[in-house]
Structure formats: C-alpha cells, structure tokens
Amino acid sequence: MDPDVLIVGAGPSGAIAAKRLAEEGFRVLVLEQGDWPDYSKATVHREDFPLTAGRDWGWDPNVRRAAGDYPIDDSESDITALMWNGVGGGTVVYAAQWQRNMPSDFRVRTLDGVADDWPMTYEDLEPYYVRVERDFGISGLAGDTAFPPGEGPPLPPVPLGPAGKRVAKAHNELGWHWWPAPLAIATRDYGHLKACQQVGTCLQACHYQAKGSADLTHWPRALELGVELRTRARVRELTRRPDGLVGGAVYLDADGNEHEVKAGVTILCANGVGTPRLLLLSDDLANSSGLVGKRLMMHPFGTVVGVFEEDFRAWQGPWGQYIHSLEFYETDASRGFVRGAKWGLQPTGGPFSMTSAYPWGAENEIWGEGFQDAVRGRLGHSIMWGIIAEDLPEESNRVVLDPIGTDEQGVPGAKIEYRLSENSRRLVEFHQQRAQESLLAAGAYTTVVAPFIRATGWHLLGTTVMGTDPNTSVVNPQGRTHDVPNLFIFDGSVWPTSAGMNPTATIAALALRFTEQLIESRRDQRIAA
C-alpha cells in the first residue's frame, strides 16, 4: 500500500514530521540519501581524534564526499555550504546551540523597514518551541530577559564554569545582557539521551549520546510507530501528475537502481540547498514565483578569542556555549546597519587547535621560537565568542543547478552564488569590536579577531520563501507550496528572513507547527490517490 505521506530528508524537520504524523496513524515513508551516523567513529578519547574528526565528521560535503553527499559548486560564493546528509541531518554535527528567534525576527519589515515580516508571530510559534524543547531534551533556564516570559526548557542549564562566570560578571559591570545558555545538551539522563560529560566534541557528534540530535530524540520512536525509513535513497526528482499534484518521487538506491514511490502528500525536508535543488531537478516545480533557490541566507560568522592569565581548562566543556548574549541583537540605526547578532561563549579546544590558522589568524602564527610557550599561553586559557550575524534576503544570493557537476549517480549537483552585503560586513565588524570589549572587560590580556573564513555556512535558509502572496513566495504559512496543493516544505528553506540565531530551534518549532496544521486540515487536503 502506498504511504499517505512521503518525506524527503531524515533531518530534524523530517524526523519531527514523520514522528508526529505516525502518532496520528498516517502511513509515512521517509527517503534519506545518507546513512545513520556511525558513532563508533566518535573516538573522542583517542589521542588522534583531532586528526580524524575532520575526516569522519566534517561538515563540507565537497570535502567529506560521503555516501549521501552531492557536490556543491561554491566558486561564486563568499561562504561555503555545510551540512550533514544522513539520518539526524545537521543535528548530528551541530553545536546544539538552541536559540529561539526573538519577537522582532518575525516583524523585520514592520520594525526595521527591510526585508519581510513572517506570516506568523513569536507568540504563534511559542507553544511549538515549548513542545520541541521537551522533545529534544533542551537544557537552559526560563526567564531570559531577551524573550517574552513563558515556559522554559525541561532540563537545567549546563554549568557556566569559571570562564562563563568571568564573562557574565564582566557583562554585569558593562550593563550588558547575558543568560545561561540554551542548548540541546542533556544535563540529566532524559529519554534516549544521557547526561553530558562535557567532553567538548559536540561538533563531531556526541560519543556519549548527550546531544539532542534527531537520530536519537525522534527516530527511535518514529520507527516504533511504523515509519518506514529508507536510507541511501537519493531522490532524483518528484513526479508530476496531469492533475497538477505531485505523485511521489523517483529515487536511486545505493546500487544506482531506480525506484518510484507514490504518496498522497509529499513533504520536502532536505535543507536550504537540497530542497530547491530537488524542485529545480523536477522541472522547476512549484516555481511560478521564480523564487525557488533565491534569497539564500547563510549567516556570516565571526569569532573573537580572549586569552587570559587564568587557566579555565577550556579545552573542553559544553562546546555549544557556556552563556549567550543578545545585548546587540536588536537594531540600532545609529550603528550604520540594521539587525544584529547573537553571541555564544565557547571553549577553544585542545593543543592541536591552538596551532590552527582559525581562529588565531596569520598575524598570530605560532610557529618557530617560543612555540611551546605560546601553546601553553593559549591552551585552557582562551575562550571565544561565536557571533551569528543576520544576513538579509537578496534574490542574487541563490541556489541553482550545477550546469557541470553531478553526484555519483549522474544527478546534477547544486551551485550556490552568495555575496556578503555591506550591511553584513558592517554588522560583523561592529559585533567583533563589542565582543573584544566584552573579553577585555572580563580580564583578557589580549584578544584575537579571527580572520574571515568561508567555511561557516552551517545555516542554509530562505530558498523557498514562505508568504501569503503566490507572486512573492513559494509556500504559504502552512508550508504548502502555492503551486502544488499536495507538496509541502517543512525545512529552513521557508524562512522569510534569517534572524541572527542558530536556526534549529525555529526549524523544529516550525516543522511541528506545519505538521499539526497538516493533520488538522487532513479532511480538506487534496491527495494523489
């Protein structure tokens, strides 16, 4: 029997939709081009882990070239697109920084006169934030003064530790905001998650299964509920029917054999590059607006390191972040740019990381005389602010099909074209200056502004924009494409603006809201019978 719902992509949005639909009795099939994460490669206690981590848990599909990856031509992009193609998606390798968007993020046009408002408010999404925070085992503390009052996450926050406390105290003296970090890191045993061991390798998958990644938080239950998950199933195109509906998809298995699946409803959850790629591969499906692939946003990223006399033993810890600050998140026109950025205070890693060009920069190169003293000076003594900067949507920043490159099975890859705007440059520069002031106020004897690097495109947003007008958007506020009544998009592609936050919390809340709306409207939903 054909499934009621076909979902493409087993990352967080696909997992949320699959589990929730299965709870309501829908027959769900999920096609995932990659595989399950192999946690046997999370060899965090081996001394050679710094050497193998980048190979086994790398973010760049062009470098990694794993089974589920497709090539992305980034030769015309200031930032490279990073992702994890497999069960759990980006949550397998994310830093677990679980940031809700702020109310102003949904009203950018109204408040700041740029870009677009979202067709929903913070208050509309708030109940779904609460639910996904329970589902992902989020830790943190209610009452953050950067957000409206309401229910907080289910687990207590990670310890601030000496570094977090030092910077928190400095922010109090400066009169600047900070708050214990919200994280998808379990601070207690919770469901399928184990309590965090603070090993600090969140970005290379969690050996201790303490990180709320969708392969752990959602997939076990989804499979128990009867969801069928086919891995190494690379969707080549969606199938169109004469009546204007999508019939399902054609996919290639690991051996290159072609299969067709049919479903009543199809939901794309393939991320901000994969989803538009698939629509473009499907003969420009759902693209009457011409906006499929356009408005790509990837969050320019800044890093500022502070080096202290004090030994924080900061080669590990909850890598996500000790604390966050949203002091400069809201627009202040006097700064010469609009919108803002979120800061997360992080450890800096082990000895190997002390020698790398990022974040330390060419001017602080460590080689030669004094090498050992320099390593000792940095190791454990340094912490850094990671700065997630909002970039505004521009149609010239986009995903297109690669006219040349193909994946292993001959399907065209993606090409991204992305240029940093002047607003983004000013924004990042301002925040780097303030972050230096923060660390100096905390007692750092020196700070380092990391050089700009391209490999920071963890957040892939905006390429099938959501809105109420079919002429200016691809999906409606329910995630349904305007053009095809039984085709939905539930991933970060639908974001009208990017906010300046790590996006998984909002991707998850949106996916749950979309799913509930689909369930609610099931009687009226047109399906490919």
């Binding site: 003064t145 928190a168 905001h177 190997f352 005389e369 004094g370």
Partner: protein, 138 residues
C-alpha cells in the same frame, strides 16, 4: 615514507617547532619517526599529499622549504601544518609537559547547586528588565 623524506620532514618540523621551554624540538619528539607513523595510521589519506609536498621542496633547507610551501603550495603547507603538530601532540611526554590530560569525562553533578546565580550573578540582568522589542500590535 622513506628516510630521505623523513629527514626532510624533520628539518621542516624543527623550524616550526624548535626545542624550547624545556621541551624537545619536533624531530627530537619523534615527529618524523614513531609519531609520523601514528599520524599516517590514523590518516592514511595524508600520506600521498605529504609525499607530494615534500617532493616539491626536495633539496631545500627547512626555512627555504617552508617559504616555498607557503608561497607556492598552500595545500602542501596545510598538510605539513596538520601533520607536524598532530604528531608532536601524539607524544605523551609532550602532552604531559603541557599539562594536557586529553579529553576527560567531566560529568555534570545532578546534585550540585547551579552556578549561574553564584553571588547573585543574574540579579542585575533580571533587574534591568526585558531587552527585546515585543511583537508590535497590528
């Protein structure tokens, strides 16, 4: 990797990590010997690019080799600057001298009182009040 290439690597590595602060140089610490073997056992994919990088600077002294790699062979420079510190820090004596125990389990004590409000840290944040712009009325 043959002895010649190892000698080349050792000379380059000693320019990058000379002896100092009571600690041995890279070659003295086994960067071109035992610990190179361990690096390549963990990352056999690095062997070929490393060989290629060294071949490109064959016959040059350590300093001149580095200058050429930086200028003409960014990929080779990247491999060298991964392999050399990678091998150096694999030596347990080096890690001990740095006071680095490796990644340890630091379980969060569920019974420990939270530290986020030590000395009333959060009081002034809360006293300042909201720092967000609320959703505007339609």
């Amino acid at each position: 990797m043959n002895d010649h290439r190892r000698a080349q690597l050792g000379a380059i590595a000693d320019e990058l990590i000379p002896a100092g602060s009571g600690m041995p140089s890279a070659s003295e610490a086994g960067v071109a010997g035992q610990y190179l073997d361990e690096v390549l056992a963990a990352r056999p994919d690095l062997a070929e690019p490393l060989e290629r990088a060294l071949e490109g600077v064959d016959g040059l002294e350590g300093g001149a080799a580095i200058a050429k790699l930086r200028t003409n062979d960014p990929e080779g420079w990247g491999v060298i600057t991964a392999v050399v510190p990678g091998a150096y820090f694999l030596n347990p004596a080096i890690r001990a001298a740095l006071g680095y125990p490796g990644l340890e389990r630091r379980p969060i004590d569920p019974d420990a009182p939270p530290d986020y409000n030590d000395d009333g840290l959060l009081d002034s944040v809360i006293a300042r009040g909201p720092v967000y712009r609320p959703t505007p009325a339609d």
